[in-house]
Amino acid sequence: MAVIVDYDAGNLRSVQRACTEVGLAATISDDPKAIRHADRIIFPGVGAAGSAMQSIRKSGVDVALEHAFRSGVPILGICLGLQISLEFSEENDQTTLGFLPGKVCRFQLSNRDLKIPHMGWNEIEVQRWHPLLEGINDGDEFYFVHSFFPEPENPTTIFASAQHEREFCCAAGLDNFFGTQFHPEKSGRVGLGLLDRFRNWDGRIAE
């Protein structure tokens, strides 16, 4: 059974519905025990890095996620779920989980016509082959809503990028963890495709 990790009482039903649509049975839970026993994990995100980390630590979800990561369980981080999987976030100057070396930065834009949050559909460019990005074509667009972006330390952990004045990483991964800054559950057919590939992913990147 897949578990969608809940924290901060977020609205995660859109993620769950999209999983159902691709045939991935997933329960929503904030129980560390359920997370430890999950055979795959979706780690979405709502709210800000500070309050998210606070509730994750309080509930013990951080330890359960760490355990799952070390055990090779496939994990998909979405938006804030990806961001707090890095080591540090400029949002609330928060130390975060640190599965993925690197940090999260705030957009600093000079062009007044561009807006923060970066919200809407944007095309992504695949930088490196990954089983979860299989079949995504240049020009395919995904739905984004965010003011901060991930900046992984090691370029080999960056799998896709997008442009918002500057180029930024929008998909990163290490071993059995993969995260997207965009929302596959809100990105129509191409997003459902990614979730469908996650349903069958064994947690390995090897081609």
Partner: protein, 259 residues
């Protein structure tokens, strides 16, 4: 670079799709869930459901519509109409709406915007403004006045000042709906849209008056809008969503072309 969004607005009354002309003469034109699904599969970027049900008992009907839509549409969608409290907003969010639109109640009690932003995040709070062209006065120096209650009640408030205030209070997006243009299919109110877009740093969605893809092109370029709302032009089958998007693409507007 972000694509310009094409958003379809579905007015829902008692669970059925309706469309008004200049805010009156509404008539039923079908099943909102079926329409939403059709547009989603045809490349629509986002949906807005506007609950124009008069009675509050019918609220639960709207929640059911939202639930059904959320099961079938994997794109962002927002819901507006009659939202007066954080509770209304969170109910709709729990039913599956991504964003909520506040309108009249926020004009009467502006704190509603900041309360909703605190509860569900600024990015999920859309301030929808209904605007009518009037003579320039001391109260309304831009000549664009805010009206509420479906266009029936002028408020003596300047639309540009309200847009700015809404942004300050925490709205994540603005819908600028021209009552003069609503349902006419003669084109958007370009000057109004542009004036608002130049005053705020949040995305602006132009609404009211779309009749041809050329109208969308104009408001997304000259009007500086980030997104354009359409209704009649697709509801009655004159254009399909994909035709509208293909035309925009051919006119050089960056829109999402693969779905």
């Amino acid at each position: 670079m972000l694509s310009k969004r094409v958003i379809a607005c579905l007015d829902v009354r008692d669970g059925k799709l309706a469309k008004s002309i200049r805010f009156v003469d509404t008539k039923d034109i079908g099943d909102p869930i079926e329409k939403a699904r059709e547009y989603y599969l045809d490349g629509l970027d986002e949906l807005v459901f506007y609950d124009i049900t008069a009675s509050s008992e019918a609220r639960s009907i709207m929640l059911n519509v939202v639930e059904s839509v959320a099961e079938q549409i994997f794109n962002p969608f927002s819901v507006g109409g009659g939202i007066r409290s954080v509770r209304d907003a969170t109910d709709l969010r729990m039913a599956g709406a991504e964003k909520i639109n506040v309108n009249s109640a926020a004009v009467l009690r502006p704190e509603l915007i900041s309360e909703c932003a605190a509860a569900i995040g600024s990015q999920n709070v859309v301030l929808s403004m209904d605007v009518r062209r009037v003579g320039k006065t001391a109260e309304v120096p831009s000549g664009y006045e805010i009206v509420i209650n479906g266009g029936r009640r002028p408020m003596g408030m300047d639309a540009l000042a309200w847009a700015k205030q809404g942004e300050t209070l925490g709205a994540g997006e603005l819908v600028v709906n021209s009552i003069d243009a609503d349902g006419t299919r003669d084109g958007y109110e370009i000057a109004l849209t542009r004036s608002v877009a130049e005053r705020v740093r949040i995305p602006v969605i132009a609404s009211g008056g779309a009749g041809t893809p050329g109208h969308l092109h104009e408001v997304l370029t000259t009007g500086k809008a980030d997104a354009a709302l359409i209704a009649s032009m697709v509801h009655y089958g004159e254009y399909t969503v994909s035709e509208v998007k293909t035309s925009l693409h051919e006119l050089g507007v960056k829109v999402r072309m693969s779905w």
